[in-house]
Amino acid sequence: MVVRWIAAVVAFVATLVIGIVAAGGSFTDYEAALAAFPWITAAAVIVSFAVYAAIEFAQTGAVTSVARQFGTRTIVLMPIAIAVNVVLGQTVAAALKIPIYLDSIGTIIVGALAGPIAGALTGLLSNLLWTYVLPPPFHSDFAAPFAITAVVIGLFAGVFGRAGLLRPRPGSRIPQLALAAVIALVVVGGLAAWTYGEFYSESFSLDAFTFFNPTPDVPPDPVLVVIGWLIAGLLAAAVIGFLLLLIVRRDAGVAYVVVAGAITGVVAAMLSAPIAANLFGGVTGAGTDFLVAFFRQQGSDVLTASFQQGLISDPIDKITTFLLVFIIVAALPARMKARFPQGERLVEVGEEVAPDDDGWRGATA
């Protein structure tokens, strides 16, 4: 089983690298390939899934681990998840007027409970049905092009769920909390540093610390430096608040959920930005468009402005979504969770799962 997973990851990375090189980039200079990233990722998802399924078939003569994710229970959960995606994506986010999307809660729930392939299929169907099947008022003409983003979100949610990152860990001891906090800060900090260096500034120096300085030779506008520091201050406050939350809740799981959300958010932004840039000149009609306008004003081209907007909005959105899913799933009874293909991974360590004799481990349940 480990072999399959390793092979799938290797195939995924290999396809990404081949795609980046084919699109005119290289390991160190992949900017040429950024615009083609959605296509490359779509190919990588298909190739790695094919490799995984082929190896499983060669080993066992069947693809049970994939079929197992699509029991009746999953099939019944999927329409509910799709409805959650669409209804929240279209109404709650708009009614509450917050610049995040909240259109992937259902996808992440299915990924976490049922597995990566089920999550990916939920994401794909959500966006396709949203455009082709659902009647107004719950209809969007512009959801289908972003289907690849939804697929990868579902896939990641499934992998993170399987890895146990979404498991509640109440009553964690201080060393466990500290370890989780350090891991979360390292991952989130690493992602932040990489995206900052890659998309927001050519060079890093403290006296010219700004998010909006595409030309480091010219001294930056002092107002922008102030805004840059303001954003840095907000981020620092968010980190401190997160650490406090961790200590108050004493649940190391929160830290891992933030890690999962941050990684998914950055990847989702990398996928959506080229699509939004090519289709709509970077805007999406959501509350996030003022950010695009701001970055355009600072001289970024359409693609860069899309990345700059997405890499701020998407990690916030996905961290919020993952935390919501974490809270919701933690509130489900353990026996209900455990009946889903991957539900045991979401049950607290030591939590009582009522003995069950209706054969839920079978292929049909």
């Binding site: 009746t72 509910i80 299929l121 169907l125 709509f280 600072q298």
Partner: protein, 273 residues
């Protein structure tokens, strides 16, 4: 024929009136997959061609002309404009005022300058958006949601996927109703859905939580109900009715697909300007 009419009436139950009509014109009676292919290929072609004239021609040929033939032009314009309005406003404002490559000044409001280059870019994007939105809107104005799913099932997609698609159509309104009830209940308990951003953010969990938890709680019953009705039985399902298809339509579908792929290849190779 009588049987298929009856089934169509059943399939149309619970949908908005303008979707429940049974194929009044020839365009309505096209196979759903043909209409979906037309919608997708014209949307993709509008993006691939770019510029202003290409999407405008596509809009006239692949959207407005069929919409006139199908007699849904009024609905099409109304729905399409409504759906595309938020993004259209964004496109116009962002590009008109924040187009750094722009040189020619049209007018200025305070520190922001409206440029002619920005306007030109915005109009190009708007043409593209109208082509995409029009193509997709035309598709669902002339097609009942379940028809496409039934047609795809006949062509061999898994009956489970078909179930998910049809169940989603019914679950969405049910969930809206549930969300409304829960929002009212929470407001009766003092939830603030109008206040500051922070208060509104805090309003997410008490609304979203019960909606999702309540829906997931139903999974158990529905699972048992489906299994009791042989949902998991292997083998093919017999469809009582499926939308008609003709060899000519299959040819058109393939021709459109080949055409759009060729267009993309030509564009990527840089042959067309």
């Amino acid at each position: 024929m009588a049987r298929s009419d009856r089934l169509s009436a059943v399939a149309g139950h619970g949908l908005p009136d303008f979707l429940g009509r049974t194929g009044p014109t020839a365009y309505h009676r096209l196979n759903p997959l043909t209409k979906a292919t037309i919608a997708t290929t014209s949307a993709v072609a509008a993006v691939a061609v770019g510029g202003l004239i290409g999407p405008a021609v596509l809009l006239a040929l692949a959207v407005i002309a069929p919409a006139l033939a199908a007699g849904v032009l009024r609905d099409l314009v109304r729905t399409s404009v409504l759906l595309a309005l938020p993004i259209a406003i964004s496109v116009l404002v962002v590009n008109l005022f924040f187009y750094p490559e722009g040189q020619t000044e049209l007018f200025r409001i305070g520190p922001v300058v409206a440029t002619a280059e920005g306007l030109r870019f915005a109009v190009e994007i708007l043409a593209r958006i109208m082509a995409i939105s029009g193509a997709v809107t035309l598709f669902y104005l002339t097609t009942r949601p379940s028809d496409l799913v039934i047609d795809l099932e006949r062509r061999g997609i898994s009956s489970r996927v078909a179930f998910v698609a049809n169940a989603s159509v019914q679950t969405v309104p049910a969930m809206v109703e549930r969300a409304g009830q829960i929002t009212d209940a929470q407001r009766a308990r003092g939830l603030d859905t109008e206040g500051s951003v922070w208060r509104r953010l805090r309003g997410i969990v008490p609304i979203v939580g019960p909606v999702i938890l309540g829906s997931i709680a139903e999974v158990e019953e529905r699972t048992m109900a489906l299994e009791a009705r042989g949902f998991t039985r292997p083998g093919r399902r017999t469809l009582l009715w499926a939308p008609a298809d003709r060899p000519a339509e299959a040819f058109v579908r393939w021709a459109l697909l080949v055409g759009v792929v060729a267009l993309i290849v030509v564009r990527l190779a840089g042959i067309l300007p």
